[in-house]
Symmetry: C2
Subunit: 211 residues, 2 copies
C-alpha cells in the first residue's frame, strides 16, 4: 500500500523510465559537479534534463536520491584502478599503470571527479560509510606496497602518502582543470596536456621511487 503511486522504484521499470532516469542522472552530474549538492537546485537539473521539475520528481523522490545514485555509481568505478594494482606485477610498473589509469579517468570523467571533490570538500557528510570501504581497500594495497619495499623493489617511503600523492596529482587535472588551462594559456592548452602530464608523472614517480 505505501510505495505504489509516487516513486516507480520497486516495480519493474519501463523503457521510458530507464531512459528518463539516465537523462536526469546525466543532467544532475553536470550540475552537481559544478555547484556541489547544496549549491545545486532541482530546477537547474530539470532544465538541464529538458523537463519540468514535477516530471523530474516523478522519477526520483527528492534531490538527495539523485545525488545518492550518482555517488554510488561513481565510487563503484572510481576505485577500480586501485583494485587492479597487481601484487604479482613489477612494483614501479604497476604504480606507473595506476597513475596512467587515474589520469585517463581524470581526462574522461572530469565531472565524476569534481562531484567527488565537492563531496569531500564539504566534509563528506553523505559518504561516511563509503569512506570506510575506501579505507579498507587502501589498507590492503598499503600492505602490497610494504611487501614490495621489503623485497627491495621499491623505495622505502610512507605508503599512505604515496597513494595520496597519486590521487592528488591525477585528480588535479580534473578538479582544477580551470586553473590548469588558465595557467597553460590558449597557446599551450589542448588535449595534449594529459600526455605531457603522463610523461612528467612517469618520470617523477619512476625516479622518485627507485629503491
Amino acid at each position: 500500500m505505501p510505495d505504489e503511486p509516487a516513486a516507480p522504484a520497486k516495480r519493474k521499470r519501463t523503457r521510458i523510465q530507464r531512459e528518463k532516469e539516465e537523462i536526469i542522472l546525466e543532467a544532475a552530474l553536470e550540475v552537481f559537479a559544478l555547484y556541489g549538492f547544496r549549491g545545486s537546485t532541482i530546477d537547474q537539473v530539470a532544465e538541464q534534463a529538458g523537463m519540468s521539475k514535477p516530471n523530474l520528481l516523478y522519477y526520483f523522490p527528492n534531490k538527495e536520491a539523485i545525488h545518492r545514485v550518482l555517488i554510488d555509481r561513481l565510487l563503484d568505478t572510481w576505485l577500480d584502478p586501485l583494485r587492479e594494482m597487481n601484487p604479482q606485477g613489477d612494483p614501479r610498473s604497476e604504480i606507473r599503470s595506476y597513475i596512467r589509469r587515474k589520469l585517463e579517468m581524470a581526462r574522461d570523467y572530469p565531472r565524476e571527479s569534481k562531484l567527488f571533490a565537492n563531496e569531500i570538500l564539504q566534509g563528506a557528510p553523505r559518504i561516511q560509510e563509503e569512506l570506510q570501504d575506501l579505507r579498507m581497500l587502501v589498507d590492503e594495497k598499503v600492505e602490497v606496497l610494504r611487501g614490495w619495499m621489503r623485497e627491495g623493489k621499491l623505495a622505502r617511503v610512507d605508503p599512505y602518502h604515496l597513494i595520496f600523492s597519486i590521487w592528488a596529482v591525477t585528480q588535479h587535472y580534473a578538479d582544477f582543470d580551470t586553473q590548469v588551462r588558465a595557467v597553460l594559456g590558449p597557446r599551450r592548452d589542448g588535449p595534449g596536456r594529459f600526455e605531457d602530464a603522463a610523461r612528467y608523472l612517469d618520470r617523477l614517480f619512476t625516479e622518485g621511487l627507485k629503491p
Copy 2:
C-alpha cells in the same frame, strides 16, 4: 550624496567597524570554505558571526562583496611561497623549500585553501582576472626552472606540470583533509601527518628531479 547611509566603505572606519568586519570575514571564511559561494547563505555567515543578518549587511553591501574581500586577501598571500623561489638558490633545495612552505600553508590555512578550491571547482567565475596574474607569475618561474634545467642542475621535465604537481600534492592535505583522515584512520591520524607528508614529498621530488 549617494554613498552616505548604507555602506560605510568610503568614510574613515571606526573601531567597531574594523572589529565587526573582521568577525564577519572570519565567519564567512568558515562558511564559504565549507559550502562554496552558491551553497552558503548570509544567514549562516551571520549566525557564525554572532549577529543578525541586517546587522551584517550594514557592514557589507551584499554576499558577493564579502566573498570578494576573502578571495582578494587569499590570493595575496597564497602565491607568496612561489614568489619566494629564488633563482640564485640551489634548484632542488629551492623546490624542497617551496613544497615545505606550501605544505605549511595547507596545515595552517586549510580554509583558505578550500575557499580557493571551491572557486576553481566552480569554474572560477569570480577570479578570471586574478588567474591571469597567476599565469604571469608561473610563466616567470617556469623560465627559472628552465634555466636550472639548461645548467644541468635539474631533471629536464615539463616545468608547468612540475608546478602543478607541487600544488596538487600540497593542497590535497587541506582540500581533501576529510578523505586523508578517513583513510589514515584514528590510529594513524594526528598532527604528525604533515611531517610524514613532508618527509615523503621531500624524497619523491628530490630523487625524482635529479638531473
